[in-house]
């Protein structure tokens, strides 16, 4: 009984901000503080969401968005990890490339979108590339850093036991760098969702970003907010999935004492 009560107060503490925000959101248009034509109350948004779910539109757009996000992420993760491991392992190369990478990282994917359209057209390819570009840098740079910062004592220890280069790379450097690599992947995941929306707002006929923009243009405001909520849920879902994967790879970190 006590446990149950603790559970409720615990989850109340965590969600109180969210609950207050939704209450305020409901209240503001109803009380006339904000014009309800521009800000639909959550109740209207929920019924729009349900209608979109029933018609199958939401699922259709969500699946297309998800597919784009996953393809872009998959390319970014494989590219970022392979090159990151390679560059971090050979420290000399990292020195040559660091300035280049730092400037590329600062180059917003949105700013480069016109370039991608020029080069690759308005089709799926340039959408994938913008997502790839946005999520690549945190993955690549974190992987490089992770490999670079592997404790030399561990490498020496493996060497003193007669380990081969292959063993050191696969069994020492890779697991030691894994936490940093995952931080990069999770950061890349959130950049991926952000750039996805931008990509879908230009020259697209499907996806959640398109749904949001199209609903606004046709003045279907509750649908617009429904699309935004759908996007937020998708972002949370991706982050949650990445967290789960991270957890299964770094279960040894459970309960590492602070300051250890």
């Amino acid at each position: 009984m006590r446990k149950l009560a603790n559970f409720f107060t615990g989850s109340l503490e965590k969600t109180i901000g969210l609950i207050l925000f939704i209450a305020l959101w409901e209240l503001a248009p109803r009380a006339g503080w904000v014009n309800s034509t521009y800000l639909s109350p959550p109740s209207a948004v929920v019924s729009a969401l349900i209608a979109l779910l029933k018609s199958g539109d939401l699922i259709k757009h969500l699946l297309i968005s998800l597919q784009r996000a996953l393809v872009g992420m998959a390319v970014a993760v494989s590219f970022g990890m392979i090159f990151g491991l390679f560059i971090g392992y050979f420290k000399k190369i990292e020195g040559y490339l660091d300035a280049l990478f730092q400037s590329f990282r600062q180059m917003s994917a949105f700013a480069l979108f016109p370039v991608f359209i020029l080069l690759f057209g308005v089709g799926e390819l340039s959408k994938t590339i913008i997502i790839f570009w946005a999520s690549l840098w945190p993955i690549l740079l974190n992987t490089i850093n992770g490999v670079k910062n592997v404790d030399t004592l561990l490498v020496q220890s493996a060497k003193s036991m007669g380990a081969s280069q292959k063993f050191i790379f696969l069994r020492v450097i890779l697991p030691a760098a894994a936490p940093d690599i995952f931080t990069g992947i999770r950061l890349g995941g959130s950049y991926c969702v952000m750039s996805l929306v931008a990509a879908e707002m230009i020259g697209a006929t499907s996806g959640l970003g398109y749904l949001i923009l199209y609903s606004q243009e046709t003045f279907n405001i509750p649908d617009m907010y429904a699309g935004i909520v759908g996007l937020a849920i998708m972002g949370l879902g991706i982050n949650y999935a990445l967290k789960l994967i991270e957890k299964s790879f770094s279960s040894w970190k459970q309960g590492v004492a602070v300051g250890e």
Binding site: L153, L154, Q156, S157, A158, K159, S160, M161, G162, A163, S164, F167, R171, V172, P175, A176, A178, S250, W252, G255, V256, A257, E260
Partner: protein
Amino acid sequence: MSKIQASKIHRQFQVNNDFGKKTKLTVLDDFNLQVREGEFLSILGPSGCGKSTFLNMLAGLDKQDGGQILIDGKLVSDRSFDRGMVFQGYALFPWRTVLENVEIGLQIRGLEKKEREEIARYYLAMVGLTAFANRYPHQLSGGMKQRVAIARVLAYQPDIMLMDEPFAALDAQTRETLQLELIRIWEADKKTIVFITHSIDEAILLSDRVAVMTARPGKVKEIIDVSLPRPRSEEIRNSSEFAQIRQYAWSLIKNEVTKAQGLQESIENDQGRIMVQPILSLQQKFKDMIQKRIGGHNEKIG
């Protein structure tokens, strides 16, 4: 024949001095040492005398600039299966359990999981950590971590065990317990051990011979034969022979320690001299500066 034969070893490092200029620092020069098969030899020296550098060379982690090191009559190679090293910093793999850590050397040697586990469990029992097999290193105390590291080396049966100040980071009680455990383990199977330390007591308690090093550039100043009987126990520290050897070792090393400190100070002295007397007027000024702030603050609170 000697197990290890090091002759005329020379090693220097490129270092940046205080002014950011590159200079050469000679760490070992004309270093000669022979280690006998199955003996426990300690290398005792002041900090910075190059004793760890020599051990790294034996482990294949560093290379000398001159001279040669022979193990069993062959030149030391980078990669070999017959040496084991215990580091001061434990060097356990944090993502592996205690058991998996002990297994790693066997894994490198290509043993099957079942064989690895059988051997690892035997050595975990030897160091008294059977109950901790499935814990992770961060859940262990320093002494337990070093026990794991010792079990890990013992498990893959190297000819030579190299120990680089393995107990220096531990508290006094734990250090003494582990010293006695190491004696027990070594007296059972008599591996060749080269043990680095800066503690005279530790060197005498454990070793058959103690090589005393000079300050940098390091070489062997003298080798002391420790004729204390074995098996050794804790009480041997109180014997008069022990005290005699300790006194002799201290007389050898005293000058070197002062010299080593001199080397340090010559670097530090240029930067700023240590103040002998506190300057009271300045201290009063600092107090006033602080009081002015907290005084105002206290008024606000009041």
